[in-house]
């Protein structure tokens, strides 16, 4: 017994001595440890950017780690464990509401005016909630437009959806449009002037008004056309150039489509469709990717400096050069190579008709898909009005 006690006492003494000795000397250089999240495709590029950042900001002992979490997963991964999340992470603007609600983001205050001035207005708006800026705009290319086969269509043909269908049918081909998808089907409603808004966190839509019903009839006519084809990206890319003459999709497919079509590769803004006898331009969603600073970071100023650096003009051009990502920075967007990019200029043509996704709630997608699917399947058991009423009330979560 006694022996054991002595042993315990010595052990305690020893540990306390060690603890005393471990007192640290006053640090001369500040140690800053940060983590950045980006998609796996971005890792090499981010690594280079981080090195450039370190070189440009000497006098601090930087430890900057990279972690693989792509933008679509940012919200989920963040909320699973905010403490383990990166200090600086990339996210798409449709997550900004949820992240701000969860208190996940630092408000951007340092150099705010310069950041606002440097980026296009729609990108800044997409990063803004209640007048406060919560992200550093990084890309402005998450939208959709029309890809087409030049051997089938002239530039004049692709201005009207009706004409496109007609030409495609004559050529024995199809026009691809994923109508059973809330993201794409919205373009008919947006074009007609229907609106999305959020009231107390609830989705408020006016799709079931008179205009909305006309839009519904127009979609019904479109999906009933023999040259109409729906499906996912895989179907689109498998058929483009052979059975498909044109299709609505986004920049992420630009590389593949241009390889498939070769010299016949072309893209432009979405066409006009016939709404109650009047030609109406199709609208769309404009999506942006933003850099955010984790509200739990230990080094907010340094994290902000890094986020700002990673999204500055030079790095946005670098993003375009390495990964063909379209810039949100005004100067970068005027870069000659960017202007010459077929997909990005099609997106730019569509931009005036696009709205931000910030006021779209998670509850919208399911009912919107159900509505599109019913029309695709030519299931007309419910009237358009009844279907839209159901869509509106379900999107509100009721």
């Amino acid at each position: 017994m006694k022996k054991l006690l002595i042993l315990l006492a010595t052990l305690l003494l020893a540990t306390s001595l060690v603890a005393c000795k471990a007192e640290e000397p006053v640090a001369e250089v500040k140690d800053v440890t940060l983590k950045v999240w980006g998609s796996q495709d971005d890792q090499a590029m981010l690594g280079e950017m981080v090195e450039a950042f370190k070189a440009a900001n000497t006098g601090v002992n930087w430890t900057i780690e990279l972690g693989v979490v792509g933008e679509p997963d940012a919200r989920t991964k963040y909320l699973e464990d905010p403490e383990a999340a990166a200090d600086v992470f990339a996210y798409p603007n449709d997550q900004v509401m949820d992240l701000v609600n969860a208190g996940a983001l630092y408000e951007v205050t340092i150099n705010k005016d310069a950041i606002v001035a440097a980026n296009i207005q729609s990108a800044v708006d997409a990063a803004t909630v209640d007048g406060k800026l919560y992200g550093y705009p990084m890309t402005a290319d998450n939208g959709y437009f029309m890809y087409y086969d030049k051997s089938v269509y002239s530039e004049e043909d692709v201005k009207s959806l009706d004409k496109m269908l007609e030409v495609a049918q004559a050529a024995g081909k199809k026009v691809f449009f994923d109508v059973s998808n809330g993201w794409y089907i919205a373009s008919f409603f947006i074009g007609a002037g229907n609106t999305f808004s959020m009231v107390d966190g609830k989705q408020v839509l006016d799709f079931n008004n008179e205009t909305g019903v006309k839009v519904g009839e127009a979609i019904k006519a479109f999906t009933a056309h023999p040259a109409f084809l729906t499906g996912d990206d895989n179907i689109f890319k498998a058929g483009m150039g052979t059975t498909i003459a044109a299709g609505v999709s986004g920049t992420w497919n630009a590389g593949d489509i241009s390889t498939i079509l070769g010299a016949n590769y072309a893209a432009t803004k979405l066409p006009e469709y016939t709404l109650g006898g009047v030609a109406t331009q199709l609208g769309s969603f404009a999506g942006f990717k933003l850099m955010g600073v984790n509200s739990l970071t230990a080094f907010p100023e340094e994290a902000m400096a890094l986020a700002e650096f990673l999204t500055n003009e030079a790095n946005q051009i670098k993003r375009f050069e390495t990964r063909k990502l379209g810039p949100s920075n005004k100067n970068a967007a005027q870069n000659e190579a960017v202007l010459a990019d077929v997909a990005l200029s099609a997106l730019a043509q569509q931009a005036p008709f696009a709205i931000s996704q910030n006021s779209v709630a998670g509850t919208y997608w399911g009912p919107a898909e159900a509505f599109g699917l019913a029309l695709e399947n030519k299931d007309y058991t419910m009237s358009i009005q009844a279907m839209l009423d159901a869509l509106v009330s379900q999107a509100a979560g009721e």
Binding site: D98, A102, G103, T109, I235, S295, L373, E398
Partner: protein, 463 residues
Amino acid sequence: MKGGTQMTNGLKAFGKRIGLFFTHFSQGDIITKASYFVMGLGQFLRGQWVKGAAYLGVQLIFIYYMLVSGISSILGLRTLGTKLQERVWSEERGIFVVQAGDNSMLMLLFGVAAIFVVLAFVMVYWMSVSGSYQNQMTLEAGKKPLNFRQEIDVYLNEKYHITVLTLPVFLTFLFTIVPLVFMILLAFTNFDRFHQPPGNLFTWVGFENFTAALWKDPLKSKTFIDLLIWTLIWAVFATVLNYIFGMVLAIMINKKGIKLKKFWRTIFVITIAVPQFVSLMLMSQLLADQGTLNVILQEMNLIDKFLPFLSDPTMAKITVIVVNLWVGVPYSMLITSGILMNIPTDLYESAKIDGANAWVQFWKITLPYMLFVTGPYLITQFIGNINNFNVIYLLTRGGPLSLEYFQAGKTDLLVTWLYKLTVNEQNYSLASTIGIFIFMLSAFFSLIVFNKTASTQKEDDFQ
């Protein structure tokens, strides 16, 4: 009834323990009394060195844990956090400095965990105290308490079940029971997207979710009931058909005279070896409206319009059941062939002498025997199918979606619907509430069947 008697028996045993706790103390000698305060004394001072030291160690660790975090964790359960994340403008730094608040989710989880730690400690404490008293009795009777070696022998024989089950029970508590209690308690909170940590707190709301969830809203309750019916239909078909086809397949392969048994079995096992998310993704591409199967059938001029395998509600329901056969039959083939080989051959021999043909043999011998052995397996398969997230989600995502349902599609099971609710609305408390309904339903059903099946009633018969 049965559960009731089990419960009263449990309570009685518990009451008896409490009584013993005090009688042992009053009848104990000084060492026994002292071991009520310093655990392990009654073992250590009576020659059981290892055991005594272990008890003491447990006590020290427990006290340390309670002081460092246990007590505050348990107290935190009352409010689930009071300190809200704050943002304070700092002129000097030019930023709104964020001051972290409490995280309600972690407080709930660690509160639950702390309670389980206390319960486990009480159990160990009881073991040490009663063991100490028993040692005293043994010594008074003129014998020696068991030494370490002898004790090990006891744990390898008479008390073998304790040796064997301690680790599984511990792991089950850690990875199943604590998370489960946590999830059940979520249903009594307002954890949704407006109360999302770390920026917000959530707190107890009592039974509000249970009333608000389904009863007040006709569309939600219609969705719930329709999906419940489909879930049950799906579970019955998926379970029964998989089982029967798997068994028939196993019987065919095992039949005397069939050659290349190993070859046939391997073919079906390969489909298990390819991960489900891959094979189901392929299946959904194969069966899509513009999918490969439709294209090939059209090219062969067998059909002129695509078959809506996954987009027509009724077809989709049939398709998921059939595809699930593809997924599940190899598993049941494996299990049943293992057991089929174990059927005593003399049963068949005597049946043959009586002139029974293969069909009669199947009904009179094979099936009853298989049901006896695999009864509980069937129940768990049934429950597993009620919660079969993978097959439905990877194949159809619940689609075709329908406006007749609230945020759900025609092949959605309750569990995939719950998942969508959490993803689209981050409404965790509602999801937990509906989860509890499913849980109670399946627990009630399966406990009845489980305790009525032949395999638990007469488990000693075949032994």
